[in-house]
Structures are given as C-alpha cells and as structure tokens.
Symmetry: C2
Subunit: 153 residues, 2 copies
Amino acid sequence: MIQTPLAAQVTQTLRAQGGRMTAQRRLILDLLQESDSHPTAEELYALARQSDPSLNLSTVYRTLNWLEERGFVSPRRFDDNHAHKHFDPVQPDAGHVHHFHCRNCDRVIEFSAPQVEQLLGQIRGEIARQHGLRVDDAALVLSGLCMDCAASA
Amino acid sequence: MIQTPLAAQVTQTLRAQGGRMTAQRRLILDLLQESDSHPTAEELYALARQSDPSLNLSTVYRTLNWLEERGFVSPRRFDDNHAHKHFDPVQPDAGHVHHFHCRNCDRVIEFSAPQVEQLLGQIRGEIARQHGLRVDDAALVLSGLCMDCAASA
DNA sequence: ACACTATTGCAAATCGTTTGCAATAAACCA
DNA sequence: TGGTTTATTGCAAACGATTTGCAATAGTGT
C-alpha cells in the first residue's frame, strides 16, 4: 500500500501505542496532507465524504484530536468572531511558520520570514524584561485578501 | 453625572442613532473601561452582577456586539482550543497594539512595539508581492506566563 | 405626564465540538 | 485461516459559548 509521509508516520505511532489504522483515519490523513490551506474539521469532513459517504463528523474530530495530542497537527483560530479551528499539519523540519488569513474565503496561507524570527528574538526579551513576563511563543498573523479574492474584488 | 471617557463617547453615538443609554449599558461600559486585562463576556457579567444582580448575560453579549459594530471594542481569541472572545476597548489615539496572552490564567496584556510596526511595513509588501496577497492587518501575539503565574510556578 | 419604541430578561435555539454507548472491525494469536 | 480481544466507529444526545424570539420594561422626545 502506498502511504503519504504523514500517514506512514502516523501508522508507526499508532502501532507503537496499540492503536489501529482504519480506512477512515487513512482517508482523513491523506486529505490533510494534500490540502495546502489548513482545513477545518467541517471542510475535511465534506471532502472525505466524497470518498466515504458513511464517514461521521465525530470521527473527523476524534481523529484530529488524536493527531493533535501526538503533535501531528496543531489547531489555530484565525477569525475572532464565530470561529472554527483550522488544523495545521506540523512539519517537524520546518522552522517557525506564520500565517496569512483571507477574511473573505477563510483560506489560510503559511509563510516564513527570517526577519520576523530575528525581530521576535529581540522583542521577546525586551517585552519579557519590561513587563516581567515569560514569553514562550510568538505568532504573527497577517490578514487581508488572498490572491483569488483580491482578483475578484 | 460623571462619565468615563468611553461611556461619554458611547452616549454620543447612542444619541445620534436614536439609541438609549441604560443603566445596564453604563455599568458594562464602566467595567470595560476600568478593566486592564481585556475581559470576556462571562468575566464582565460576573463583575457586573456584583452591582446589578438582575443583569442578564444576553444583555452583556448584546452590548458588546453593539459596541463592536460601532468600533468601540474589538474581539479577539487567544486560546486556540476551547476559546472565548476577549473584548479589547479600542483607543482611537493609540497606534497598533499587540498582545501577550498568559496561557495559565488567561490574562491579556497589551503592548506596543514600534520595531514591529516597522518590520511589518517591510514584510507586508514583501509577502504581498511574493504570494499575490493584499495584506490589510497584522497581529502579533506573544504567549507564555504572566508575571504572577511565572512567580508562582 | 404620554406615547413611542429601543432595550431588557427569560427561555429556547444555534453553532462548533465532545461524549456515552452499542455495534463494528483491526490486529494479534492459535 | 478463523476466533478473540478491544480500539474505533456511527449515531444520538450533551456540551459550552453565543444568539435569538418574544412579551414585559423603561429611556427619550413631545
């Protein structure tokens, strides 16, 4: 059986923990890996049902939570209002990535910017000292219109 | 009647739009203005009920939404998981503010960092060109432990 | 003071997500 | 290969945060 890298890695972890690789999980994993815009559970569910109409939404959520607990995806909310989580497949090798969120179509685009890393290094220390905080993480989120939405506007 | 700046401003807008300044709204506005850590609706509700036990949670939500629609507060989610909105009173004069979120006590601390503004100026153009995006806004969120939580850890 | 209608409290609905449970099906073993 | 074990599924019901319909209440301009 051909496996996408993600599915292969997950299968290993699964085996090691007495878990089982099911058709549903494989489907969800493959869709997650293909997708470039970090999908929400609903989006993944809609896609998955094209291949397996009997798949249940709660299975999608359970799979995503399982993946999250083991560090294979990380959830993010981009919309401050009625917000659903987007699931971001984690590439262990890639450094810190930042995100752009299209406020029209809800699509998410990843980018990395070395200058940002550098600045964050400074800022973190400075802010930490100034306010007495312990800064563990920094996320930069840009928002606006993606290429497609900008074109059709 | 003594009015906090926020309440005064809101009253003006209210009048201009045929709205009414009620005791509930005044209470919520004053608490919002006093509070330094951007409170959630529930937090505001709990505080407000100390003065007015008959206040209803839906009134808090309605007031916050009304304020949001007119640009007096802006909602933000900091926790990527089970997340509630925090409401951030908007100071028209202050420039772009960024946020620190304590992952232990959920407190939010504002800060401004001119260097970030500067960098964003560069990045925005670069990212925009590179990915064909139109970048309208940028938010930097730091997270970790606030002073109090860091001390007691 | 009166009338007009914006706003309230209440209860029920909503949205995204989670959970209990009995039925199903991977994985391990004879 | 078939049988056993138990992790995983589908379903329906529960969940927490937020929103809504509605009749009762109370600001505001006259």
